[in-house]
């Protein structure tokens, strides 16, 4: 059975294709449209998924859409009733938008995609829960889904047993951890639904001196449930996330581009601490409900790597699975997985261990492209080991290398297919990389480390700890902080990706780097410059290479120098 999962119209539109129970292709629309977090209907992503397996839309048996659009419209209308008469402007903008496109998902799929078979609408948090649980190796697990908002739900507790997902409890809009975090993102002068991770990075530089003020925004219970005091928020009735009462509590908001001051850092630290406390209270309550030591998390809030790293010490959970694409793009996978379980009945565990599911380009196309850039010199390697030796040698000498290899990653993290790499020390490597990426100084870099060595460098819950999707921050061991100086953040944590044979050539590169330097870790950041999606075509990679201070670029078997 062939099932196409789709997410669209909120952010990170994407398509994912399952053929006979195997996830063969998945990609976000932004990679093609070059609009970061593109929310347009993913026509190009769908076409890519079909082309990648030489199928047409007629070969697809079912389409799984990641939410119920009419339920979402109902919630929107209810919100307008509750906020009447203060939401006229959002009403005038939102309703034509909804009536124009968002409500007519079926029409788009029928007429523009040309699909005539069955369409299934999977509730938003069911999609998240399915993506989280069915992609894990667990037969039973507790599941937490947390995001901004789906149809109504913003937070849900689930129990997963074999093929069955059971909803236990939920919290509905407007009470939302995702929207709470986004409110602070907007207040601190960053972009909502895009820059939340900047708050996470900034929080390490501050002290949580505003905790009491943050707690005034909500009533929180010991079981982790909460209710936001909507007096402080205006995301229901205006285009601004926070209200005047919020400003009275925290002071004037930071404008985009303004200097980041101590107060901003302290506020970021405070919201991070409170969100962590909320999450851990929820997780402890979830454990009492399920008694399972296995935890799966989904939804955008599950991308909070700093909180994720503390789950092992703050809750009873021993095994944690968070899909790399935990946000809305991953919901396309979840919707498809859920529909597959409903239609086929019992399915074997389909653990996702690799997210290299996107596009790839041949060496021939790269060489042909390079003929248009006479200013570049390059060498195509016939032997992989020679290429890896040359690349690792550059990294060992402190050079920065663009690394474009094989199929692109699904989800927001570069996992070694479209990455910019460097050695993880000295500290100055961070400044060099920040210049290449043109991004804020306070933002940390992540590391990719050989799985066999992770426990020697980080305080891990177990030896050879497995975290392949870069969604956990761990504390770096004191004696290794100098060795990883460029990726150790202000709070001595580092977001890590453990790398093993599943990572193919990327694994072999780090192994070679380890052989040459004795260091099993590299600095890994996404191959893009600020404000742009991760590179899709080799041409994007070459252009970024040319306009930045990157030292070398590897595309498949070709090593390019300036």
């Amino acid at each position: 059975m062939n099932i196409l999962g789709i997410s669209a119209f909120y952010h990170d539109s994407a398509a994912a294709l399952y053929i006979d129970g195997k996830l063969l292709s998945a990609i976000e629309e932004e990679r093609f449209s070059r609009l970061k977090h593109d929310n347009a209907f993913p026509f190009q992503a769908i076409q890519f998924c079909l082309n990648s397996v030489n199928l047409t839309i007629d070969d697809i048996d079912a389409i799984a859409y990641y939410e119920k659009p009419l339920r979402k419209l109902e919630r929107l209308l209810e919100t307008f009733v509750v906020t009447y008469p203060f939401a006229l402007r959002p009403f005038l903008q939102a309703i034509p938008d909804w009536l124009g496109q968002k409500i007519s998902v079926e029409e788009i799929i029928r007429k523009k995609v040309g699909f005539s078979k069955k369409i299934y609408y999977v509730p938003h948090h069911v999609s998240h829960a399915a993506a989280a649980f069915y992609s894990s190796s667990f037969n039973t697990a507790a599941i937490l889904t947390v995001d901004g908002v789906g149809e109504y739900q913003t937070t849900a507790l689930w129990k997963g047993e074999k093929d069955k997902l059971t909803l236990l409890k939920s919290i509905s809009f407007p009470h939302s951890i995702g929207l709470l975090y986004s409110t602070f993102t907007a207040y601190l002068g960053f972009k909502v639904n895009e820059d939340e991770y900047k708050i996470m990075g900034l929080s390490a530089y501050g002290l949580p001196e505003y905790i009491q003020q943050v707690y005034r925004l909500m009533d929180m219970k010991s079981d982790g449930s909460f209710s936001l005091n909507m007096k402080y928020f205006s995301y229901r009735e205006s285009f601004r996330m926070f209200s005047d009462a919020f400003i009275a509590l925290f002071g004037p908001p930071r404008k985009p581009g303004e200097k980041v001051e101590k107060r901003h850092r302290d506020i970021a630290a405070s919201i991070q601490v409170v969100v962590e406390e909320l999450l851990f209270a929820m997780l402890n309550h979830l454990y009492t409900q399920t008694k399972s030591r296995n935890l799966c998390m989904g939804g955008g809030v599950a991308l909070n790597a700093l909180a994720n790293g503390k789950i092992y010490t703050k809750t009873p959970f021993k095994n944690v699975h968070i899909l790399g694409a935990a946000g809305d793009s991953g919901a396309a996978i979840g919707a498809a997985l859920y529909v597959q379980r409903q239609l086929r009945g019992s399915s074997p565990v389909q653990q996702i261990t690799s997210l290299y599911l996107g596009s790839s380009y041949s060496n021939e196309s790269v060489e042909s492209l390079l003929s248009c850039y006479p200013e570049l010199t390059y060498k195509k390697y016939d032997s992989e080991i020679d290429l890896l030796r040359a690349t690792a040698a550059k990294l060992a000498k402190g050079k920065t290398v663009g690394w474009f290899w094989g199929r692109t990653e699904y989800g927001p993290r570069a996992l070694g297919a479209r990455s910019i790499l460097s050695r993880p020390s000295p500290r100055a490597m961070k400044d060099t990389m920040n210049k290449i990426k043109r991004r804020e100084e306070f933002r940390p870099f992540a590391g990719s480390i050989l799985q066999d060595h992770v426990h020697r460098y980080f305080y891990t819950p177990e030896n050879k700890y497995y975290s392949p999707f870069m969604n956990v921050c761990l504390i770096v061991r004191e004696n290794k902080r100098k060795e990883l100086a460029a990726i150790v953040h202000e709070d001595n944590t580092c977001r890590i990706q453990t790398v093993n044979e599943d990572n193919g050539r990327y694994y072999r590169l780090i192994k070679e780097f380890y052989r040459q330097t004795g260091n099993p870790c590299v600095l890994n950041t996404s191959f893009n410059v600020m404000g742009e999606p991760i590179v899709e075509h080799p041409k994007h990679a070459i252009e970024d290479f040319l306009c930045s201070k990157m030292d070398a670029l590897v595309i498949n078997d070709v090593l390019i120098n300036k």
Binding site: L70, Y84, V122, V126, L157, K169, D219, K221, D223, F226
Partner: protein, 62 residues
């Protein structure tokens, strides 16, 4: 000319929505206020999953 008619169309839609907002949403608001129950602070904000929530109907967008 096309731009003019587009703007006229947008203006017309806005005018219709303006009336819909103040009349229909306003009436719904009135009913909402009249039927609203004042509850004290609960012990928990978790909403328990009811039978209806536990089964998922997939074939409809609602």
């Amino acid at each position: 000319m096309i731009a003019f008619f587009r703007r006229l169309n947008a203006l017309f839609i806005s005018a219709v929505l303006f009336f819909v907002y103040f009349l229909v949403i306003g009436l719904a608001r009135l009913i909402y206020v009249l039927s609203e129950r004042k509850n004290g602070k609960p012990d928990s904000y978790w909403q328990l999953a009811r039978g209806k929530q536990k089964t998922v109907e997939l074939s409809t967008p609602y």
